[in-house]
Amino acid sequence: MPSLPDIMTPDAEGLARQAGQGGAHAPAADADQDAFFEFLLRMGDNALILGHRNSEWCGHGPVLEEDIAMSNMALDLIGQTSLWLGLAAEVEGKGRSADDLAYLRDAWDFRNLLLVERPNGDFGATLMRQFLFDAFHFHQLQALSGSADPRVAEIAQKALKEVSYHLERSAEQVIALGDGTDESHARMQSALDDQWCYALEMFASDATDVTMAQAGIAPDPASLRGVWDETVDAVLDQATLKRPEGSFAHKGGKQGTHTEHLGYILAEMQFLQRAYPGASW
């Protein structure tokens, strides 16, 4: 079982100190800390669970290059997880680490979108899920790069560079397969239709989102719908895929109500730390 990548010296703590020294306004201290912690879990858990799903392709990709791409994206996402959950642990202030949050919480404490815990399905379904999420993730990180909390802004700026490549790749693949053979087109359309109602949870704002938006820490996800639509429509058009009409969204992941699939992910991902607490290499 992989441990989260090594987090070099103090980081989050040091950064907070720096921010204080620089006289930069750090509104996180004033904002509702519980909401801030929830928000950071959502960021970290989306990256963690999607990263884990991508890692399931390692050794199973349809061609070597795609196998490698999937593993590299998993690596990026798990790396981002360690940054988000590291900050979450610090904000929580209960002495937990990023690893504790990743490996020792149970399903109801996870705050990821239902979309990212969907089973991989075929390669087309995996790519479609990735594209729908990347388009959201990209615009979200772009907004977060200007967060009033400097710690959030710098993680977002770092992650944005990586996610730009993810979006470019998944968009290309959706176009190549959507506008490909009859078989690939049919599979991509069906992947899109199946996942649309899960994707829309991305824009379902709740009280936590409103609190974060008011504090200037994060954009209200609902406000990202317009730019997401533009990106998604442009790509689907090129891909000759038909955008689903439905507006129904499966919700609950952000608040901890998950589908049965998350339990299986955690059973695999957390097994070692549960069986051998504190094990490391």
């Binding site: 070099m8 980081d11 290059e65 590299n72 990026d76 730009s164 790749r169 990106t231 790509v235």
Partner: protein
């Protein structure tokens, strides 16, 4: 013992990147600062990719190399901002990459989210020319946006038919 900061930089220039050992950590541009705080040498390092598995090895290599030079107290500080960019790879580093068979990054070609402006056509031909590090031909094509490490993409030369790595712009 407190060797001069410039001496420490020279020592750091001797530490190879663990995954691309022809270039040093200073060529890569990830060492952001070196300073003495009392008896502790603080080395500020910025990660290339947030999940790059080489990060832990790099830290260890820095510590070990400086210890071997007689510096007893080394503290590594991670700095995320400003985020690392391939613009910081030295000219010397770029030459070394090319000699090693890795096409160096073409500055200013990192994705900006304007996917439609950049999406390549189905022929697989990219919208930029990366010269082949072996025969220098511009007749090359991208095989995958991702490669053997997070920082590289897979390309192939249509002229000499050799596959090669491209250190992608970041």
């Amino acid at each position: 013992m407190r060797p001069a900061v410039s001496q420490v930089w020279d020592w750091l220039a001797e530490v190879p990147d663990p995954e691309i050992p022809v270039i040093s950590l200073t060529d890569l541009g990830i060492i952001r600062d070196v300073e003495w705080q009392g008896e502790v040498l603080v080395v500020t390092v910025t990660p290339t990719y947030s999940g790059c598995p080489a990060t832990a090895v790099i830290n260890l290599d820095i510590e070990n190399h400086l210890l071997s030079k007689g510096i007893e107290h080394v503290m590594l500080r991670r700095q995320l901002t400003p985020a690392w960019t391939t613009d910081w790879i030295s000219d010397q580093g770029r030459d070394k990459l090319r000699d090693y068979g890795i096409a160096p990054p073409i500055d200013g070609t990192a994705p900006d989210g304007d996917v439609m402006a950049r999406v390549t056509s189905l022929t697989g031909r990219g919208n930029m020319a990366v010269p082949c590090p072996r025969c220098n031909s511009n007749d090359t094509r991208r095989v995958s946006q991702f490669g053997s490490t997070p920082c590289k993409a897979s390309w192939v030369c249509n002229a000499c038919l050799e596959p090669f790595d491209y250190f992608k712009c970041h």
